[in-house]
C-alpha cells in the first residue's frame, strides 16, 4: 500500500506547493514550498529504491481523451538516475531554503514547477507527457533566469529560448514520427522500430533526437546560451538545470536510441556522433580555461562533461552496431555512471559558486581570493567538488572517467580499420580534454579560495552560518561514497543497460574490482584505502619525529612588500595555454598609447579580447541573413487592401487551374 502512493506524492507535492505559493503569495508559504519540494524528492528516492528492489512499475490513468491513457513508468535504469537526482534536488531545495537572503515566492513557485517537470519527464511513459514536461522545463528555467530583473540585457534569454525551442521542435517531430510509425503513444511499447523504419530513416530520427536533446546539453553549436544563463541566473536554477535537464536528456536519449529505435548497423552515424561529441568536449574544456567568472567556468564544464558522456554513448552505439554487446554495455554503464556523478558534483560546485558570489558580492575570479581562510567550511566542500570534477582519486569523477576511458580501449574487438583509427583518436581527444579541464578547475579553486583577496568583498565576506553549509555536506559525502564504494551501483547499472543492447547481462564487478573481459580492473575501494593508508602513514611518521613547530611569517617577497596586486591573476595563469592553443582562441589584441598625462609618463593600454567564435561566425551571420531575407519579403506587405485581395485572387486562380 505504502509504496503505491509514492509516485503520487512525488508529483502532487510540488504541484500543490507551487499553486499554493502562487495563490497565497506569502513568504512563509514559499518556505513551506521548498520543504514540500524536499519531501517530494525524498519520496522520489524511496520510490526508486522500491523499483530497484521489485522491478519496473507502471501507473496509468485512464482518461477519455483521444490520446489513450496517460502513464508513468520507472524501470531500473531510470530508478538509478532518479535516485541520485532526487537526493541532489533535496539538497538544492534545502540550500535555497537556508540561504541568507531567504525565499521569494516567485523562486519557490518556479523551483517546484521545474522539479515537477523534470521528474515527470524522467518517468513519463506517454509521448505527450514527455514533450509537455520537456517544454515546461524550458519555460520555467527561462523564467527563473531572466524574468526577475528588468534592467539587464535580455538578448541572451531570447537566444536560450530560440535554441531550446529549435531542439524541442526536432524532438516533437522525431517522437511524433515514431508514434505514428509504430501506432503507439506509450513509450514503453515502442521497441526496435528501426526494423520498420529502415536504416536511412532511423538514422535521421536518431540524429534528430541527438540534436534535439543536445540543444539542452550544450552540444556544439547549440551551446551559446549556456555561459550567459549560468552567469546571470540564481544558482538554484543553474544547479537544477545543469543536473536535472542533463539527466532527463541523456536518459531519454539512451532509451530512444537503444530501445525505441535500435542501433542496427549505423556505424557512420555512431562515428559522426562521436566526432561531434568529441568536439563539444574539447571546446568546452578550452573555453572553461579562459573564463573570468566562476559560474561561466562551470557552464563550460557542463558542456565538456556532457560531451564526454555523449562520446561514450556514441562508442556504445559503435560497438553495438558491430555486434559487440558487452563492450557496448560497459560503455553505456560508464556514461550513465558519469551522468549520475556529474549530477552530484556539479550541483555541489554550482551551489558553492552561488554562495561565494552572494557572500562577497563578486562574481569574477579576478576579484576574489583568500576565501579559504575566511570561509573554511565552504572551501573544504568545494575542494571535494573540484577534486571530483577533475577526476582525481578517491572521488567519484575518477571512477567514472576511468570507466569511460576503459570502455574506449576495446578497438581490437572490431576489425574495421576506420574504427581502429577512430577509437585511439577518441582516447587522445578525451585525454587532452580532461587535462585542459583539470587546469581550468584548478584555476577556479585556486584563484577563488587561495592566495590573497583581490577586492574588499573578498577580504570580508559575509560569514556563513552552519545551516547554509549543511546542504553541501550530503553531496560531498555522496561524492566520496560513490568514488569509494560504487560497485553495487555499477552492478545494478550494468544489469539495467544490458537489455538495451540486447545481452542478458555483463559481468563488470568481481568482488570489489571493476573490470571488463578480464582486461585489467580497478579496485576503487582498495585504491582509496591505499591512499588513506599512505596519508595516515606519513602523519604517523611525522608525529614520531616530534610535535610540529609552526611559525607564521610573510610570504617570500625578496624584500619588497607584497599586496593584492603582486600575485598571479587568473588571466595570467591561463596565458601560456592561450599561447599554445592560439589558433583555437583567435584572440584579438589591441595596443594603444594613452594620451600623455605628463611629459615624463607614457601610458600604454593593452586590451585582449577572446571572441565568442560560434556567436560571431555562425549565429550572427545566420540571423543577419534571415533578417535580410525578411526585409526583402516585407516589400510584399504594402499595406494596400487591393494588393492583398489581388494575392488572394491570384492564388485562387492558380490553385483552380493546377488542380483541375
Amino acid at each position: 500500500m505504502f509504496p503505491a502512493i509514492l509516485p503520487y506524492l512525488m508529483l502532487a507535492l510540488p504541484l500543490s506547493a507551487a499553486v499554493a505559493s502562487l495563490l497565497l503569495r506569502d513568504r512563509r508559504v514559499g518556505a513551506m514550498a521548498y520543504v514540500c519540494a524536499a519531501a517530494s524528492a525524498v519520496s522520489a528516492a524511496m520510490w526508486s529504491v522500491v523499483v530497484l528492489l521489485h522491478g519496473t512499475q507502471t501507473y496509468s490513468w485512464d482518461t477519455s481523451s483521444v490520446w489513450s491513457s496517460y502513464a508513468i513508468t520507472l524501470d531500473p535504469l531510470g530508478a538509478l538516475v532518479l535516485l541520485i537526482s532526487s537526493l541532489t534536488f533535496a539538497c538544492v531545495a534545502l540550500y535555497s531554503l537556508f540561504s541568507r537572503e531567504g525565499v521569494t515566492v516567485r523562486g519557490a513557485v518556479l523551483f517546484n514547477l521545474f522539479m515537477l517537470s523534470v521528474m515527470l519527464a524522467m518517468v513519463a511513459d506517454h509521448v505527450l507527457l514527455l514533450l509537455v514536461a520537456w517544454e515546461s522545463m524550458s519555460l520555467t528555467s527561462f523564467l527563473g533566469a531572466w524574468g526577475d530583473r528588468e534592467d539587464q540585457d535580455t538578448s541572451a534569454g531570447w537566444r536560450y529560448l530560440a535554441v531550446t525551442h529549435f531542439g524541442a521542435a526536432l524532438l516533437i517531430a522525431a517522437f511524433s514520427f515514431l508514434a505514428i510509425t509504430s501506432g503507439e503513444v506509450r513509450l514503453s511499447a515502442m521497441l526496435g522500430l528501426s526494423g520498420s523504419l529502415g536504416p536511412a530513416v532511423s538514422a535521421l530520427v536518431i540524429l534528430m533526437v541527438f540534436l534535439g536533446f543536445g540543444s539542452k546539453l550544450g552540444l556544439l553549436p547549440f551551446h551559446i546560451w549556456m555561459p550567459d544563463l549560468y552567469g546571470r541566473a540564481h544558482s538554484t536554477i543553474t544547479s537544477l538545470l545543469s543536473t536535472a535537464a542533463s539527466n532527463v536528456a541523456v536518459l531519454v536519449l539512451v532509451r530512444t536510441v537503444f530501445g525505441y529505435v535500435g542501433v542496427g548497423q549505423q556505424q557512420v552515424l555512431a562515428l559522426t556522433i562521436m566526432g561531434l561529441a568529441a568536439l563539444t568536449a574539447l571546446w568546452g574544456a578550452w573555453q572553461a580555461l579562459m573564463q573570468a567568472e566562476g559560474s561561466r567556468v562551470l557552464a563550460y564544464s557542463s558542456m565538456e562533461n556532457m560531451g564526454l558522456i555523449l562520446l561514450t554513448i556514441g562508442a556504445a552505439m559503435l560497438f553495438q552496431s558491430y555486434g559487440a554487446g558487452e563492450p557496448a554495455a560497459f560503455a553505456l554503464m560508464a556514461a550513465m555512471f558519469h551522468l549520475v556523478n556529474h549530477t552530484v558534483f556539479k550541483a555541489l560546485l554550482l551551489m558553492g559558486a552561488g554562495t561565494v558570489r552572494r557572500a562577497t558580492g563578486e562574481g569574477s575570479m579576478e576579484r576574489l581570493g583568500g576565501l579559504a581562510r575566511t570561509m573554511p567550511g565552504l572551501s573544504a566542500v568545494f575542494l571535494v567538488g573540484v577534486l571530483s570534477v577533475a577526476a582525481l582519486p578517491p572521488f567519484n569523477g575518477f571512477v567514472s572517467e576511468w570507466a569511460m576511458f576503459k570502455s574506449l580501449m576495446h578497438a581490437e574487438l572490431i576489425s574495421d580499420p576506420l574504427v581502429q583509427l577512430a577509437l585511439p583518436l577518441a582516447i587522445a581527444v578525451m585525454a587532452l580534454c580532461t587535462a585542459i579541464a583539470a587546469a581550468a578547475y584548478l584555476r577556479l579553486y585556486g584563484f577563488t579560495f587561495l592566495g590573497r583577496p583581490r577586492s574588499a568583498g573578498a577580504c570580508r565576506p559575509r560569514p556563513m552560518a552552519f545551516s547554509e553549509l549543511f546542504p553541501f555536506i550530503p553531496l560531498a559525502l555522496l561524492c566520496l561514497l560513490l568514488g569509494v564504494a560504487s560497485f553495487p551501483l555499477l552492478r545494478e547499472l550494468a544489469a539495467s543497460v544490458s537489455p538495451l543492447v540486447g545481452i542478458p547481462g555483463v559481468q563488470v564487478v568481481e568482488g570489489s574490482s571493476i573490470s571488463l573481459l578480464h582486461q585489467g580492473g580497478l579496485d576503487p575501494l582498495g585504491l582509496s584505502a591505499l591512499l588513506a593508508g599512505g596519508v595516515l602513514l606519513c602523519y604517523l611518521a611525522m608525529r614520531a619525529l616530534g610535535p610540529r613547530r609552526l611559525v607564521r611569517g610573510d610570504t617570500w617577497d625578496c624584500g619588497t612588500p607584497l599586496d593584492r596586486r603582486t600575485q598571479y591573476t587568473p588571466t595570467g595563469f591561463s596565458q601560456p595555454l592561450l599561447k599554445v592553443f592560439t589558433k583555437v582562441y583567435a584572440p584579438v589584441t589591441e595596443v594603444r598609447e594613452d594620451p600623455r598625462p605628463s611629459p615624463y609618463i607614457r601610458g600604454v593600454r593593452f586590451e585582449q579580447r577572446l571572441p565568442e567564435v560560434f556567436l560571431e561566425r555562425f549565429y550572427l551571420p545566420l540571423s543577419a541573413a534571415a533578417i535580410a531575407l525578411a526585409m526583402r519579403v516585407k516589400r510584399m506587405q504594402s499595406g494596400s487592401i487591393q494588393a492583398y485581395l489581388a494575392y488572394i485572387m491570384i492564388t485562387l486562380i492558380v490553385l483552380l487551374v493546377v488542380l483541375r
Binding site: 581570493g369 576511458f405 580532461t434 587535462a435 587561495l450 585489467g520 599512505g534 606519513c538 603582486t566 599554445v580
Partner: protein
Amino acid sequence: MDLTKLLIVLLEVLFLLMVSPLLTGVVRRVKSWMQCRSGPSVLQPYRDLWKLFRKSTVASREASWLFLLIPYVCLGAMLCLSVIVPVFSAGPAGKTGDMLAAVYVLGLFRFMMVLGGLEGGSSFGGMGSSREMMISAIVEPTLLLSIFSVAAISGSTDLSFISGFFASSGAEALSPSLFLAAAAISISLLAENSRVPFDNPATHLELTMVHEGMLLEYSGRELGMMELASQLRLTLFMVILSNVFFPWGIALGTGVGELALGAGSIALKLLLISAGLAMVESVMAKMRLFRLPNLLTISFTLSLLAVMSYYIL
C-alpha cells in the same frame, strides 16, 4: 592476500623509499662529473631530508588550512603508487594495479602541488603553477596514449600483468609501436619530473622555475615531504619505464632466488637509467618555455603513432 605477498609489497615499498634519495644523489653526482667537478656525495639527499624533518615550519600568513595538508596528501599518493607498481616481481604472483589509475594518482599529486603553489599569494608560486599546468596539459594525453598502445599489445592495463607478459614473451612481443611508446614515455618522464630540458631542478631563479616555484613557500618537514615525494615520483617513473619496456630479470614467482634476482636487476636498471638521465641533462640545455609545446607535441605524435602502428602494421 597471503602473507608472502604482503611481505613482498612491504619490502618493495621500503626499497623504493630508501632508494629514491640515492638515485637523486646519483644523478647529481654524474652531472657534476660531466661538469668536471667532484660534486656532493651520493648520500647528500639523505642528509638534506633528515635536516628538513627536524626543522620548524614557517608558513605564510596568507596560507590556509590546505597548505599544511598538501604535503601529506602528496607523499601518501606516492606511497600508494609504490604499492601498485611492480618492482621485484610481476605476473600472477604480483599485485594488481591499473596503469590508468596510476596516471590519475600522479595527477592527484600534481594537482595538489599546483594548489600549494597558489597558496602563498606570490608571483613565484603562480608562475610555477601556471607553467606546470601548461606542460601537464600536453603530457597527460601522451601518457594515456602510450598506456593504450602498451595495453593493446599486452591485452590488459594491469601493470603487473603487462610486465609479466613482456618478460615471458621475450622477443616476439617487440614491435615498432612498443619502441615508439617507450620513446614517448621517456620524454614524458623528463616533463613530469621537471628535468632538463623542461625545467632546471637546481635553479631558484624565477624565470626558470617550474617545480621549484611551487615548492618555494614550503619549509621544514613539509618541504622534506614534498622533496621526498618528488624523488619518489622520479623513481616510480623509472621503475615503470624499466619494468614495462625492459622487464628482463623480473621475478615471475615468489621464490627467494627469483626475488633476489628481481631486486638486483631493478637496482641495476635504476642506476643505469639515472646515469642516462644525468647525461641527457648535461648534454641538453633548458629550453625556452614556449618552445616546450613543440617538444611535447613531438612526444604526443610518437605516442599516437605507437597506437596507430599497432593497428595498421
